[in-house]
């Protein structure tokens, strides 16, 4: 990325003003000189100074120059390797000229990295992006040509400090770094980078949140979450092949980043430390949305998330709905036993359930939960009755989903058929015995009721709803209705379906018989009664 960026900059050159192009050319010459001739090494100071310039263009130029200089030097191995003596000691110490040069350049390199990390908070995104690319380029070069002496432990050879600096810059506490983090994602494809990043972020959370002392840091947490959600965990050990570090140099078995288990453990640790702290409510929802498919499968012990999920489930409202998904994974795959689960699910059914964004997900799960044939009849009946009662406030797109849902429940549990067919009762009309306010599905008398709500909906204004509601007049067919498409049906889709419905070719569109003479007339002039043409 970085070379292409520099080339694009050079392509733009002819269009720039002459002065600008001259200064740039000068700068490039300077960089070239620094690289070629050790004599001119001092000119690197000019470049480093320029990195702090006001103008975005200057900064970019300096950036590309620095990139050029240090990547060449790193590549050539001209930087000093090993423990770096202090700058002051340089003169006093007895080193050869070559060593001195290497040390000097190494110091400049350190300076440059510091400046670059600061640049990560620059206001221009182009600068930030270029900086990130440059830094990551350094990371990769350092990984190949380690600046530290190789240790027997694999850790040593990975430039952790540099990466830590980068990640620390990314997880800003002041601004939303979502864009930059998404740029960073491509570097996370490297397995070792990912592994070390996990550890670094974990440390960072511990350090930063300790300062917050129980409060929330929305920006920081958001950044962390963005980073976390951008991590694509590998699924198999065989996938772990894409390393930045050439692993020919050390024994592969011992090296932690090459083990999936280690990855998982790091991942899990990171998530725990992240979720341990209080989350802002918007972030809470986001976490819950992705938890079940992006997090839980990659944990070594998903059941540890149980506490978090049950706490979320108890909160109520939309958060409960979302926690359901994670809970389902735990119950389904990890044998979680959850007492009063269905009672809670029953109490989640509120009128707002039909209007929230996660409606499809919720009903998909509810469908799964209620598909068990081992559920007691009273429970299913309570669900059916409650859903049909709530359907009295639902928009048509939801009705088209919820009515087949109800019918499916009755089909699955034939004992619930009494809700729509109770021939043995005396014909005396009764009040509806169902208690909507009762929290316990066992006590709500749903079994003694009938689905008069569906009968009401047979008078609904939408023809499709009427058609579906009419299904309860006849014995239900054996085949269950397919809910797949209906779950996602939105109001607009329903509208489009109605618009695009084929009119019979022969028929013309029927028109109103009563001639219209005024805007506010018609249908008893109701509009005219309440509103005036002003």
């Amino acid at each position: 990325m970085a070379p292409s960026r520099s080339s694009s900059v050079s392509a733009e050159e002819p269009e720039e003003q002459q002065q600008k192009s001259r200064s740039r050319r000068e700068m490039r010459d300077k960089a070239e000189r620094v690289v070629q001739e050790p004599r001119c090494a001092n000119e690197v100071f000019d470049l480093l100074e320029l990195l702090q310039a006001e103008k975005e263009r200057d900064v970019l130029c300096a950036l590309s120059s620095c990139d050029h200089i240090f990547s060449t030097l790193l590549h050539r191995g001209d930087l000093y390797v090993g423990k770096l003596p202090k700058e002051e000691d340089l003169i006093t110490g007895s080193y050869s000229a070559q060593e001195k040069y290497a040390m000097f350049m190494r110091h400049r390199y350190t300076n440059c990295v510091q400046l670059l990390v600061e640049l990560l908070e620059h206001e221009a995104f182009a600068v930030k992006e270029n900086t990130l690319c440059t830094l990551m380029k350094f990371v990769s070069l350092e990984a190949q040509q380690p600046l530290e002496a190789t240790d027997w432990d694999g850790h040593r050879c990975f430039p952790r400090d540099l990466l830590k600096a980068v990640v620390g810059g990314l997880l800003s506490q002041k601004e939303d770094m979502a864009l930059l983090i998404s740029r960073f994602q491509e570097f996370l494809d490297k397995d070792d980078v990912r592994y070390y990043t996990l550890g670094i972020v974990n440390d960072s959370i511990g350090r930063v949140m300790a300062q917050a002392r129980g409060g929330v840091l929305p920006v920081y947490q958001n950044n962390v979450f963005t980073l976390l959600s951008n991590i694509n965990m590998p699924k198999k050990e065989q996938e772990l092949r894409n390393f930045l570090l050439s692993h020919r140099s050390h024994n592969h078995e011992e090296w932690k980043p090459s083990k999936l288990k280690e990855h998982k453990r790091a991942f899990e640790r990171l998530w725990f430390s992240f979720l341990k702290h209080k989350l802002p409510s918007g972030l809470y929802k986001k976490v819950l949305v992705m938890l079940h498919d992006a997090v839980l499968p990659h944990m070594s012990q998903p059941t540890l998330m149980m506490d978090f999920l049950t706490a979320a489930y108890d909160i109520g409202g939309a958060i409960s709905l979302l926690a359901l998904n994670g809970l389902f994974v735990l119950i389904h795959q990890h044998n979680l036993d959850y007492p009063h689960f269905y009672t809670k699910l029953y109490n989640l059914l509120e009128p707002s359930v039909f209007h929230v964004k996660y409606r499809a997900r919720f009903f998909h799960l509810a469908n799964l939960f209620l598909s068990s044939s081992h559920l007691p009849v009273y429970l299913v009946a309570a669900f059916v009755k409650r859903l049909s009662r709530l359907a009295l406030t639902a928009p048509p797109a939801v009705l088209l989903m919820i009515l087949p849902f109800i019918c499916n429940l009755i089909r699955r549990h034939p004992a619930c058929r009494v809700l729509i067919h109770r021939p043995d009762m005396t014909d005396e009309p009764t009040k509806d015995p169902y208690l909507m306010e009762e929290k316990d599905p066992a006590l709500c008398h749903a079994m003694e009721s009938s689905l008069w709500e569906l009968q009401t909906l047979q008078k609904h204004y939408h023809p499709d709803v009427v058609r579906v509601a009419m299904a309860i007049n006849k014995p239900l067919s054996e085949q269950e209705d397919d809910l797949g498409e209906l779950l996602e049906l939105s109001g607009y889709e329903l509208f489009e379906r109605d618009i695009q419905r084929e009119q019979k070719q022969t028929e013309t569109v029927p028109t109103e018989i009563e001639p219209a003479t005024q805007l506010l007339q018609g249908s008893g002039g109701l509009l005219g009664l309440h509103f005036s043409l002003e």
Partner: protein, 858 residues
Amino acid sequence: MGKPQKKSLADKVRKTKTSTEIKNNPFEVKINRKKFDVLGQKTKHDVGLPGVSRSKAIKKRKETLLKEYKLKDKSNKFIDRRIGEYDNKMAPEDKILQRFALERQRTQGKRNMYNLNEDEELTHFGQSLADIEKLNDVVDSDSDTEERGLLSAELTASHFGGGGGLLRKKASGESGDEGSQKAKSRQELIEELILKSKQEKRERQTQKEEAQELTEKLDQDWKSIQSLLAHKAPKAERKEPEEKPTPDEYDITVRELAFDMKAQPSERMKTQEELAKEERDRLQKLEADRQRRMQGDVEEDSTTKQTFLSADDLNDGFILSKGDQRMLSYHDGKWNLEEEMKEGEGDDQEEGEEDDDSDDDSGEEQDEEDSDGESGHSDLESDKDSVQEGGDEDGSATQEAPTMPHSSLSEEERLAQQEAAKAELPYTFTAPVTYSDLKSLLSGHSTEEQCVIVERIQKCHHPSLGMGNKLKLQKLFGFLLEYVGELATRCPPELSTVNKLVPQLYGLCQLFPDAACKAMQTLLTDSAHDMAEAIEIKGRAALPGLDMLIYLKITALLFPTSDFRHPVTTPAMVYISQLLTKCHVSSLEEVTAGLVLCCLAVEYVTLSQRFVPELISFLLGILHMAVPKKQSLGYCVVPPFRPSGKNSDLLTVCNMAHTESWSRKTLPLSGVQGLKLQNDLERDHYRLSSLATCLDLLKRCISLYKSLPSFNHIFQSIRILLAEHLPVKGYPTIIQDLHREVLEAVSVAPVLHTPLVFMKRKPIPLKLFTPKIVEVLDYGKKRGSSKEERERERLKHKYKREFKGALREIRKDTRFLAREKLSEIMHRDSERKRKVKQLFGSLASQEGEWKALKRRKK
């Protein structure tokens, strides 16, 4: 005789014994053994009765073959044609009766048919025709007919009787004694007939002439005596006229009715095309006239001067004097009616008012038009009375105009006329190709003029007038809709213009329902799409502008809302529902828009009484906004409303003191776009008006949904809210009354339900096997593949069988004949033997006698 007796033993048996006896007799029965038993097959021939069948066959042969045989070589035969001679079923009495009847018919009918005046008397008005004939003896045609009748009687007999029995019988009757002349040829017979008829005719003519002569003579005799009776006759004449001229009312009316104009076939009704063509021609003519006037060459001749005709003119001769038109003027926000009343004349007042709206152009133009109109007016009246005209005119700005001599217009007036012609609307318009065309056509015109323009565009491009017109008008509908939308989005919205354009839209919609449907659908789709996008991006959408509300209302006006499924109204309803569920209400403007939507929703379902859940939820949400304390609610509001939050107390009245000065007003539709409410007082009043509207809508919903099974549950939240949370106490009495009404209607006793049962349905019939259809073949095995081949096979088989049967029959016939012949021979022989014996016997006795005689002699 012995042998034949023996032969017909079977016959004898059959005759003497009943059929059951025969069937029970085992010796008579032959059982045909069957090879297979086929289930359900009925066989005719399992039991045979050979004796019986043989006797039957013999009997049949005796009746047919034997008779033939006996009649062989005989040339003549005797046929008895008497009625029922060979009919055994007829009772002898019947036979006799019918024969007798026929006999009578034969003797009577023949003569009656043609001899008109022999037996029956024909009458006319109760008088015998014969008598009349005798009186008016001038008729010789009568005699002719008589003759023709007579003639034809015999002629027809000879022609159609085929020269058969009838004629012969008659002839024989007539010439019974002339037995020798019997053998006459046909030719001769006819000649004879003609001769006879001519003779008769001549005789009659002479008779008549004689009679005429006699009557003439009598008449002359009478005239000679008449003078003697002269004094009597005039009296009789005088009497008659006295009786006649006393027609009573009845007579008069009868006569009137008689001479009354009968319904004459009038000119046919004009077809729509012709009407349209006429209309267009008229408009074109007017346009040409207008052009001419614009050019300025006014015809000086007053008598031929064209009078101005409005496009709305009924052509009934009623002329609106332009001078009476006044500008619509407002004084302190009130219509300046009184002043006009004072100024104007009574009869023209209404007309003036109607047209006032149209002419709010610049004042100058109005004046000039006035002058133009006046001159026209004066031209009209000039023929009658030129002095009076000054008095007719009102004393408005251009007073000098009427005083000018009408025949020569002044220069400045001519100029004025030119101006007026320019200001007038053209009569033909080109149909707009783009929306901006239409806009430029309509811009700068008043509401009325815009209507007229649209109307004229429509008339000029009636679909029957040209090929492309249909498309143009269809486009026009779309443009008009767009224009309406633009009018509604203007600030302030020009809703009165929209109001006037509605009939035009309706008319176009009636002409092209499909195009109108398409246009409406496009509008709805666009808007719904925008909303869907907004929801996608922001998670919520704003309520639509006034234009969309107007469109929805127009949809309800143009298309039937009560259809179960309609390509426009159903999506429109879905769209309304979307708006009611997805759009957040965050200001009083949006409350207004929401209430308009609710109104529309109620209107959409008023006829069909269908259930709209969103409507109730939305009204609940609106009412919830008026609840001051949001804690411990016994109900839950449905999104987009929130139980508490930023905009959840939009409608709470902030100062209860303001309620006293409130009076119920209709909300302005322009409130959707923006409200100019300066202070808390106005805002509170607006809130109260909204609440009143909301409650009234609720009342209507309740009456609509009263019959629904879940009525109580639908309105439960609303009941709780109204009963416990709404601060009614502080509201004005009108709202309190409304509130009480609604609450009473809602809190009726809970509806009792009968448990649901499935609908009864017909039991499913048992499944039946479809029968296997096997072709029945005459012959045993199926042979031949194709149809023709099979048919041939069948025919061959049939032929074979028939052939065999015929052979058998022939054999039996010959056997029978042989037997008959034999029996005949035997019979003859025996007869002969008997006779010989007899002869021999007689001879022997003779001999014996003779011998005895001889012996005695001896």
